[in-house]
Structure formats: structure tokens, C-alpha cells
């Protein structure tokens, strides 16, 4: 809370501490994992930016997204989701709950699925980010994407990118999943339209076709 006040005051000498932002974020992650079926508790490592403080203004960083390096100017409080959506216009990544409870914002960081709304963009500058826009390879859709189209696994489509990311990650790591495996992989993905049965069917079918 105190940080918010400081941040709201541009005259403050003390910059916004990235560490305290993360402390808050980290607590919420743990909390929501306990409370819900949320899939991904990203094990946070304070590697890259240990000891550094940023801000209060914007800082130039480089981000490796979908294989290409992008330069962007972000405030210290910027999440990975916001960096992707607001700064790089990669709006396939959706923000639905903004507190790590719905997996709509799932992206891969070094091939691990994470909730990008819960990550500071400063912590992933040295990592490989893959978003929904980047999982088709050489103009060819991921088999899960193909299967989603085939089995009508999207309705309004707002959860779809996150669902696809979860299911594609499963298949990339387990070519022969069971229904339970698919359910576990998507257990953090909220869908309000109720596309789940077709998501399950599509993912199992994609596995069958790929094997």
C-alpha cells in the first residue's frame, strides 16, 4: 500500500521498489494457488536483477519474444502481461483476473507456462518468452491449434489463447496424454462459455494425430 502512495507521487525521491512489488505479487500467487485449482505456481527466482532498483521513471529493456529481440520502455511496476499487450501489441495474451487465478494470460518463459500477469517484466529480460502469437512454426499451426478449430474448442474465444498454451505445452511434453492429463494441464484455465469438453476432445485428438 505504501508503495502505491509513493508511486502516485512523482515528486517522491525514493523510487518504486521492484522487490516490494514482487513480494506483493508473490504472496498473491501463493494465496491463489491455495485457494483455487490454479495450475501454475511459477517458482520465482530473483536472478537477473538481484540488488538493482529501477524507477521511478521508465527504463529501456530488451525482451526476447517469439524468437526476436524487442526494445521497450517500461515502468518498474510493469508486468509481463502488460509489456506484451500494451507495449508490444501482442494482445493474444489476455488479462482476465489480473491476479494469477484464471490462466488467460499464460505464456511460456523458457518453455514453462506461467501467468504473465503475475510476473515483473524485469525478471524475464534474459529469458525466452513465447506467446500465443509464437507457437505456430514456419506458418504451420501447432497441432493443438488445428484441433481447436476442428473440434470447435472456442466460443467467445477470450480464454482460448491461454487454453491453447496450456494444451500445447502438455502435448509438447507428453505426446500421449490421458483425459486426466488434459484436465490437469488446463485446471487453472477459467472458461465462462464452457468450452472445456471440446478443449479436452481437441487436445486428445491432436495427440492421436501427432503420434
Amino acid at each position: 500500500m505504501e508503495d502505491k502512495k509513493q508511486d502516485a507521487n512523482p515528486g517522491s525521491k525514493k523510487g518504486f521498489s521492484r522487490r516490494s512489488f514482487i513480494r506483493g505479487a508473490g504472496l498473491s500467487t501463493a494465496g491463489s494457488v491455495l485457494l483455487t485449482t490454479n495450475a501454475f505456481a511459477f517458482e520465482y527466482e530473483e536472478g537477473y536483477s538481484e540488488g538493482k532498483e529501477y524507477g521511478p521513471g521508465a527504463t529501456l529493456i530488451q525482451l526476447k519474444v517469439n524468437g526476436s529481440v524487442q526494445t521497450l520502455s517500461v515502468e518498474p511496476r510493469t508486468t509481463l502481461a502488460s509489456a506484451l499487450r500494451d507495449h508490444l501489441d501482442l494482445t493474444g495474451t489476455k488479462v482476465v483476473c489480473d491476479r494469477g487465478s484464471c490462466s488467460a494470460c499464460t505464456v511460456y518463459v523458457d518453455d514453462k507456462p506461467v501467468n504473465s500477469c503475475m510476473m515483473s517484466v524485469f525478471d524475464v529480460v534474459d529469458k525466452e518468452i513465447t506467446t500465443i502469437e509464437g507457437i505456430a512454426q514456419n506458418g504451420k499451426l501447432h497441432p493443438v491449434q488445428e484441433a481447436f478449430i476442428e473440434h470447435d474448442a472456442s466460443q467467445c474465444g477470450y480464454c482460448t489463447p491461454g487454453m491453447v498454451m496450456s494444451c500445447a505445452h502438455l502435448l509438447d511434453n507428453n505426446p500421449d496424454p490421458s483425459l486426466e492429463d488434459v484436465k490437469r494441464a488446463t485446471r487453472g484455465n477459467l472458461c465462462r462459455c464452457g468450452t472445456h469438453p471440446h478443449v479436452f476432445k481437441a487436445t486428445l485428438d491432436a495427440a492421436k494425430k501427432s503420434s
Binding site: K4, K5, A8, P10, G31, S32, L35, T36, T37, E75, R85, D86, D89, L90, T91, G92, T93, K94, V95, V96, C97, D98, R99, S101, C102, A104, T131, I132, E133, A136, F148, I149, H151, D152, A153, S154, Q155, C156, G157, Y158, C159, T160, P161, V164, V182, K183, R184, T186, R187, G188, N189, L190, C191, R192, C193, G194, T195, H196, P197, H198
Partner: protein, 780 residues
């Protein structure tokens, strides 16, 4: 209107399919045969925008970024009932990056204790007070924290029971007119009945008022069931929140909106800002879900427009998750008293219903419609009361009133069956006159294997299995003001245009199917441009009206365009155009096999660059039940539920649902399955999980988020088997209807009946929680 006589398919294939002769408008296309004889209709055609959705390319309102765009955030009340004495925005104004602040002011005196106040009275936590536009969302949020609002707080009341007490704080002093049916958020008017916070009763619906004589009916009864059922408040929570991006330029206000009704938003914004409708354009290319609450411009629409006006820049204003829960609609709760009488042979003699529900500061919490029409009964009466509370407004939510009503009615019918010693499914065969539900019961019971059902509570062991059934009906609504333009371009290409939006049901795809079927093309050859009020006006996505309203105009327009194109071909071949037909992408002369040309070649004959036909909708063939577009027939469903109840922990798991449904002529099987799955899952959620938890001492919603507001995730999804019954009614050139709402009505009732079958004790209140199961079993 000139008509011709034509025979159309009528009835249910495999059951009673026949033909019926109707008078149909002369300019409308000939009757389609049943689906098996069509090329694209009734098939698993892929959703045409699925590629955009699975690749993240689909741009929703929340994804838009216009040059120079500002981000806005609403200022909302933190107290449930108050007069605002002052608002200090001086600090917020000075924050770097803040461009404008707009406060909502009293435009007219509201006749209350606040008549001289500058700002409207606050009636619930979350009520909009103002808005801020800034360079970024973060700055807008920072600025929000710098605004100080001083409230003179008033007594308030949050829960239904307390609001009904004689000395309860009064939410609205002036009379308020009650809507007759559930689902509408009432406005403040003079001249209603009711005392204190209780409004009503309303005693009718669009199916008419009371019938017969209850007293006589109950005297005739050999068996009577009498209970009170309770349902909770739950919130809509579409994944994309309510919101708009407003780009107001001197010559045009463009509103990008996440809306179920582009035309309504256009009309509302034009009216609020005194603009001609032609100067307001509303666009909704993709929208991230809506279940009834996204029909209007809300308060965020005008707010964004005011901020755009003040700054001269486009303004993005999307709500956050908490705002979505507290301020943008919910399904009202209900306390329903239900009394049903029957003779020994099962015949119903009387149905009496009395309900109280709260839509917070809104109205329309009635639940009486389904009890009025699902089963034939000579004597029926309902009294439906709305109770005002200091909480966020209710809004239409997927089959308003019917979902709540079915939860009570379908359990009471089961209880009657038990008293009469008849199997509940067999009992519905006796009292239900609907042919479509009869077929659904037969086919559904077979797929589900209803014969496995055992006596209530008779299972062995800790985990007890139970089977239950629930039924539903939903009217066939039609919006008459529904138009489509079909354009055929010279050199190839067909385009569909309408303001109708696709909320996720697949409207784009069914329109493409209908037009492609008519023109003998593939779906890929048709481009669908909808969700834009610059195009001919289409219906709102609500009431399950879209498919029934918009597909006939689409087919009619395609038919007209085809006629014009065929005339050109006929001229070239020196024949009569009535000899020509279009299929497989080619034009044929049915009288001369040597004459054929491709569709593209045919369009090359056009003298002008396009053939454009705009068609709207005629009345349903055979007329309407109500002149405004309530058609004959019911969209029936029968759903079967199988549950496991752990009698030690109280944990209920829904294992399987078999959902048998009708929607007239089915257009797209995959999309229909998707919608039925969705309705069922929301029904599971309603029965077991979702519940708005309010703090009665502060008026704040305690679980206005995704983690504590429990909805089903993958682990809670049962096996769902859908069964779609083709049913021809010969009502329009497509004879198709929607399924969105019917899919959601019967589920909670079927689950409640299954839980009773498992444990032998009936639960009268949802959500059914471990605690309620253990209480019912006398284990706590």
C-alpha cells in the same frame, strides 16, 4: 403481402415427420428440405473465425489501441448508501499524465432527500461517481487514489430478509414500476404498487395472467406438495469485462464496444449526447462473452465519451474484474413458495407460486414464467415480488427467471411423483404435453440408461450415486427488426453485412452457412462482416433470438441476389432463369446439361460492380402468438444428471449430464454442442459453486474476484453428452432458433433431483455445498 402456398417439413424426423402447407410471402425462397438433404446446414461446419481465436489475432475491444489513446478508470462509491457532500479532485488533476476528470452530476432532481445535491445519491458500493482519463492505466489508477470523496452516510440494507422488514432502511423512497417478468433492470417511475422495499406483486407474464381458480384446484387435488426453495445471487463474469473505446471526432462518434447489442448501444449513445443515429457508429468485431448483462452502453459508455469530449482523444475504458462483479449485473436470488396439487392419476389440478427476489437497486427478479407454461394445469396463479436492497443491480442472465423457477418447479414435480408412487420420468410422460420433450425423454433416457435409477438413498457405502432429471422450456422469440445485406461482387466474392454481433455463439458462421447453402458455395467463399452499426440493423444477442431472427433475412437476401445473378446468366444462355440452379460453385441449366459456368464466371456478367440486396424478416409463417414476435412452439429440453455424494465430507461431484435439446432446424452441430456444454457447465456452477457473498455490515461483496468466486474449472467438468433433436415447425425460410438460454435452464434442477436420489434427503437451497449436505444428513 402477396403469398403463395407451399409445403414445408413439419415435425420430428424418426418420430412424426410430415409436411404442412403454409402461406408464405411470394418473394421468399422455396422451402428447404430436412437437413440430411442439405449441403452445409445441420453439419459440423468449422467456426469461421476460429483461426483468429486460436492464434491470438482476434482483436477484442479490450485489445484496441488507437493513436493518441488515453486510458480511463471509473471512480466508484465505497459506501452502500449516502449523499455525496464533496469530491476533491485537486490532487488527482495535478498528477502528471492525467488528462481529464469527469464527475457524474445530478442532471435532474430525483425527488429524494438529495434534491439539491450536486451529485446523484449513492445506493450501492460500486456505483459510478466519476472517471479519469490518463496516459496509462497505471496513472489513471494512481490518480483515482488521490481523489477524496466525502459521504454523508445513510442507513442501508443488504440482504433480502432484512430489506423486507417493516423498519428496514428504504432504498428508494419514490415508487418504482415493476417489470412483469424477470430479467429486466427496472427504471425509476411513478405509480407502482408495493410498500417499503417490496415491490409488486406482478401476477402475469407475456403468456398472460392467472388462470382458473386455485381454491377449486386444490380442492380437487388428492396429493399436494408445498415447499419453499431458495436460490442465490450470482454474477455474470464474462471473461472480457464490460467496456468501450470511444473515438469522438467532429463528424462521428465511433464506439468500439464489448456488447451484445451494437444497435442498442448506438441508439443509447445518440440519445444521451443528442446526436443523430447516423453520427454514432458502434463496432464490435469480437467480444469476450456476454450472458445477458452487456446490452446497454452502461455508465462506462457515456463516461468514456465525456472524457473523449474533454480531451479530444480516443478513450479506452474497460472495467476490472472487481468492478465487473459488483456493478455490472447478476442473476437475482429468489425465495420461492410453490404449492402444486394433483389427482391420483397424476393430473395437475393447481399450481400456486409466490416469490421474492432481489436485483439490488434494480428490478426484475420474477421467477414465475416456467411454472406457468411447462405443464398444462387449469388453475395457476403467481405473485412475484421484487425486493430492493443496497447492492449492485441485477441484469438479464441466460434465461432470466426461468433458471431459478425451474429449480423449484422441477423438484416439486419430482416430489409429487414420489407421493403418487410413480417414476419421475414416467410422471413427466403423463403431465407433459410437449411432443419434443417426449422424444427427448425417450432418447435421453436410453442414452443415459435411466433404468439404473434406484430408490432414493438406497445406495451402499460412503459415496452414494444418484440420478435425476429436469426439464425446461423457452419461448421462440424473434426480433422483427432484423436485416442482412448480401453483396455479390463482380469477378467473385460474396459478402454478408449486418449490425448483429457474435457474442461467441457462432453467429458469423451460421450466417455464412445459410448464404453459402443458398448460393451453392462453400462457407470459405463467403465473407461475413457483422458487429457494425453502419450495416443493416440486426437483433441484440439476448433471449436466444439471434438465429431465429437473422438467418431468414440472410437467406432471403441471398435468394434475391441469386435471382438477379441468374437472370444475367439466363440472358446469355437465352433461357429462362427459372431453369437455372446454383450448386458446387457452379451455375447449371437444369434443362440443358451442356450449359454450365462457374459462379465466378457468372459474376463476370454483372454490368455493375455489385449486386446488393438488403432483406429483413417477414412475420413467422403461420403468424405469431404475440404481434411483437413471440412465436409458437417451445424450445424444450430434458437433462439427466448423475452425481456422486460423499456422505462423510458432503462433497458433491457431477459425474455426467445427458442434455437432450431442440432448437427447430439445427444449423451447426458443433456450435450447438458448444453452447449446450456451456449452458450445462453454468448450470453445474449454479447448482454447486457460484455465490455472491456480501458483507451485510459494510455492503461490500467479499468475493469479487476469480479465486474466491468459485466457478467450475476443468476438474469440475462432468462428462456431457448432448442430444440434438431436429424439429421442423415451418415458421421461416430457415426454421431455425437459438439454444443459448434453453441450454442453461434444467441443469440445476436435474442435479438437485439427483442429489436427492443419492442421499434420500431433499436440498431446497442452492448452491448445494458440503455444509448443506452434511446438515441435511444430520451430520453437523
Amino acid at each position: 403481402m402477396d403469398t403463395r402456398k407451399e409445403k414445408l417439413p413439419y415435425g420430428i424426423p424418426g418420430h412424426n415427420l410430415s409436411e404442412i402447407e403454409r402461406d408464405i410471402p411470394v418473394n421468399e425462397p422455396p422451402a428447404w428440405p430436412v437437413n440430411k438433404d442439405l449441403n452445409l446446414i445441420g453439419k459440423r461446419v468449422k467456426r469461421i473465425d476460429a483461426l483468429d481465436k486460436v492464434t491470438g489475432k482476434a482483436k477484442y475491444t479490450s485489445d484496441l489501441k488507437l493513436p493518441g489513446m488515453l486510458y480511463a478508470k471509473m471512480l466508484r462509491s465505497t459506501v452502500p448508501h449516502a449523499v455525496i457532500s464533496s469530491i476533491d479532485i485537486s490532487k488527482a488533476k495535478q498528477l502528471k499524465g492525467v488528462h481529464a476528470i469527469h464527475l457524474i452530476q445530478n442532471e435532474e432532481k430525483d425527488g429524494e432527500e438529495n434534491e439539491n445535491g450536486k451529485y446523484p445519491m449513492v445506493k450501492y458500493v460500486g456505483q459510478p461517481i466519476g472517471g479519469i482519463a490518463a496516459e496509462s492505466l497505471a496513472i489513471a489508477k494512481d490518480a483515482l487514489a488521490l481523489i477524496t470523496v466525502k459521504y454523508e452516510e445513510k442507513p442501508f440494507v443488504i440482504d433480502l430478509g432484512s430489506a423486507m422488514l417493516k423498519d428496514a432502511p428504504i432504498v428508494f423512497k419514490q415508487p418504482i414500476k415493476q417489470q412483469e417478468d424477470g430479467g429486466d433492470v427496472g427504471e425509476t417511475h411513478d405509480g407502482s404498487k408495493g410498500e417499503g422495499n417490496v415491490r409488486g406483486p406482478s401476477t402475469s407474464s407475456f403468456f398472460g395472467g392467472p388462470r382458473g381458480d386455485l381454491e377449486v384446484g386444490f380442492q380437487d387435488a388428492d396429493v399436494i406438495v408445498e415447499n419453499t426453495y431458495r436460490t442465490q445471487v450470482h454474477t455474470h463474469m464474462p471473461l472480457e469485462t464490460h467496456g468501450v473505446v470511444v473515438d469522438w471526432r467532429p463528424d462521428m462518434m465511433t464506439v468500439y464496444a464489448s456488447t451484445q447489442n451494437t444497435a442498442a448501444v448506438r441508439n443509447e449513445m445518440a440519445s444521451i449526447f443528442g446526436l443523430p443515429k447516423s453520427k454514432v457508429r458502434v463496432i464490435c468485431e469480437f467480444m469476450g462473452g456476454g450472458f445477458g448483462a452487456k446490452h446497454s452502453a452502461g455508465s462506462f459508455g457515456p463516461m468514456a465519451a465525456n472524457l473523449a469530449k474533454k480531451t479530444g482523444r480516443p478513450v479506452w475504458l474497460m472495467l476490472d474484474r472487481q468492478e465487473e462483479h459488483i456493478a455490472e449485473g447478476n442473476r437475482p436470488n429468489s425465495v420461492q413458495f410453490l404449492k402444486i396439487g394433483a389427482k391420483k392419476d397424476g393430473t395437475l389440478t393447481a399450481i400456486q407460486q409466490r416469490s421474492h427476489g432481489t436485483a439490488g437497486v434494480g428490478l426484475g427478479a420474477g421467477v414465475g414464467r416456467i411454472a406457468q407454461i411447462l405443464y398444462a394445469c387449469p388453475n395457476f396463479a403467481t405473485e412475484q415480488y421484487d425486493v430492493l436492497t443496497n447492492a449492485g443491480p441485477g441484469a438479464a442472465w441466460r434465461a432470466p427467471g426461468n433458471v431459478q423457477g425451474a429449480f423449484g418447479l422441477e423438484q416439486a414435480i419430482d416430489e409429487l411423483a414420489e407421493k403418487l408412487d410413480v417414476d419421475p420420468l414416467a410422471y413427466r410422460d403423463i403431465i407433459d404435453k410437449s411432443e419434443v420433450r417426449k422424444v427427448e425423454r425417450e432418447r435421453g433416457a436410453k442414452l443415459f440408461d435411466w433404468s439404473r435409477r434406484k430408490a432414493p438413498g438406497s445406495g451402499e457405502g460412503v459415496i452414494k450415486k444418484g440420478l435425476g432429471v429436469g426439464q425446461s422450456t423457452w419461448p421462440r422469440f424473434v426480433t422483427l427488426d432484423s436485416s442482412v445485406e448480401v453483396k455479390v461482387h463482380r469477378g467473385g466474392g460474396v459478402e454478408i453485412r449486418s449490425s448483429v454481433q457474435d457474442i461467441g455463439t457462432g453467429t458469423k458462421t451460421v450466417l455464412a452457412q445459410v448464404v453459402a447453402e443458398e448460393l451453392g458455395l462453400e462457407v470459405e467463399q463467403v465473407t461475413v462482416n457483422i458487429g457494425d452499426t453502419f450495416f443493416p440493423v440486426g437483433p441484440g444477442s439476448g433471449g436466444s433470438v439471434v438465429t431465429g431472427s437473422i438467418t431468414p433475412p440472410a437467406r432471403n437476401a441471398a435468394f434475391e441476389a441469386k435471382k438477379e445473378l441468374l437472370k444475367l446468366v439466363a440472358k446469355k444462355w437465352e433461357t429462362d432463369s427459372s431453369n437455372l440452379s446454383m450448386k458446387n460453385g457452379e451455375v447449371f441449366n437444369d434443362k440443358d446439361a451442356s450449359q454450365k459456368m462457374s459462379f465466378k464466371e457468372a459474376t463476370g456478367l454483372m454490368r455493375t460492380s455489385q449486386i446488393s440486396k438488403v432483406e429483413s424478416r417477414s412475420d413467422d409463417y403461420g403468424g405469431f402468438q404475440q404481434p411483437w414476435g413471440l412465436a409458437y412452439g417451445d424450445l424444450g429440453s430434458v437433462q439427466f444428471a448423475e452425481v456422486s455424494v460423499n456422505t462423510d465430507t458432503g462433497f458433491v461431484k457431477v459425474d455426467r449430464i445427458v442434455a437432450a435439446h431442440s432448437c427447430g432446424r439445427p444449423l451447426n452441430i458443433g456450435q450447438l454442442e458448444s453452447q449446450i456444454n456451456g449452458g450445462v457447465i453454468q448450470g453445474v456452477s449454479y447448482a454447486l459453486y457460484e455465490n455472491r457473498v456480501m458483507d451485510n455490515s459494510t455492503g461490500h461483496m467479499m468475493n469479487a474476484n476469480v479465486d474466491q468466486y468459485k466457478t467450475p474449472f476443468s476438474m469440475e467438468i462432468p462428462q456431457i453428452d448432448t442430444l440434438i433433436v431436429e424439429e421442423y415447425n415451418a415458421r421461416s425460410s430457415t426454421d431455425a432458433y437459438g439454444i443459448g438460454e434453453p441450454a442453461n435452464i434444467a441443469t440445476a434442477a436435474a442435479i438437485a433431483n439427483a442429489v436427492y436420489n443419492a442421499i434420500g434427503v431433499r436440498i431446497y437451497e442452492i448452491p448445494i455445498t458440503p455444509a448443506s449436505i452434511l446438515t441435511a444428513l444430520n451430520k453437523v
